[in-house]
Symmetry: C2
Subunit: 196 residues, 2 copies
Amino acid sequence: MNTRGTAPKQDRSRATRQRLLESAVTCLAEHGWSGSTVTVVAEHAGVSRGAAQHHFPTREDLFTAAVEYVAEERSRVLREAVRPGRSAYEAVETLVGLYTGPLFRAALHLWVAASNEPQLGPRVTALEARIGRETHRMAVELLGADERKPGVRETVQGLLDMARGLGLANLLTDDSARRARVVAQWARLVEAALAE
Amino acid sequence: MNTRGTAPKQDRSRATRQRLLESAVTCLAEHGWSGSTVTVVAEHAGVSRGAAQHHFPTREDLFTAAVEYVAEERSRVLREAVRPGRSAYEAVETLVGLYTGPLFRAALHLWVAASNEPQLGPRVTALEARIGRETHRMAVELLGADERKPGVRETVQGLLDMARGLGLANLLTDDSARRARVVAQWARLVEAALAE
């Protein structure tokens, strides 16, 4: 008699996959690419190496899926942030917040690894392009920006580049005090530029 | 009879050191931290491993010196760029230029490695703080900014964060066309903000 129904089995499989992805992000953020093998991630997730390979046959599969997972988490954060009546400061703070914390840290390790790993490069590049477009679209919405006006598109792009740079500045030291001052000033400048 | 005078010997030693530093930067930019051992760098420089270790006893010594060398090269580029009569666009373009190309690429690999390597972390962090202060000082000069005015300091800092973010965006793909448009628009924003 089969006591394991299909639905619970699928649930377990999904939970294992989810645990592996979360562990991949944690390991990347903490140990970088070279320290994050499938074995290390499986161990962190409390999953056998065989079960991990059932879900993700190669290391590249695992980490590309992990970046996709990071991207979806970031989209979720952004979608929740899009609410009417937000100030420019809150919008800029939310956008900058996407580039600090372990999700960005994990993505950063993967980008840098992808620049030297031929097997990783094209997948991470394609994913990055998609994430970039989506982040831009949501930033426009969050800021209430009208991209038909000349310069507005580049104002928003530059703001996201600044957010990425602030994320990088936060990699080695806690940069939060300086970052808050930069966010306050540039929220003011971007608000004025968008109202022009 | 000693045909090798002291001065030429010192010159040779200095030339070897210089070659090792240049090779360290090239190897870092091309192969990342994990692919850049002292042996790889010595081979690239055409120097024996022993000679390399005479100059730099540890891998950390070699790469910290390499980042210092990168920092000095970047300072040199900046100092040469500070000339009267430059437009805001030229100033912003010069600053952004510091964060693209192999020098930034090498520094980026080292930052990311330093975030996971306890032996590298404190040295790279201290060096980064020095480079950050120096870059800021020269950016203020280049832009003709008056930091006594409120907000000006943060305007310049945000611009340098944007430049860093643009450098990161250029890691996986050639981002130069988009970058030129963002630089044009942000030069306009920064110029207006500094004139306020």
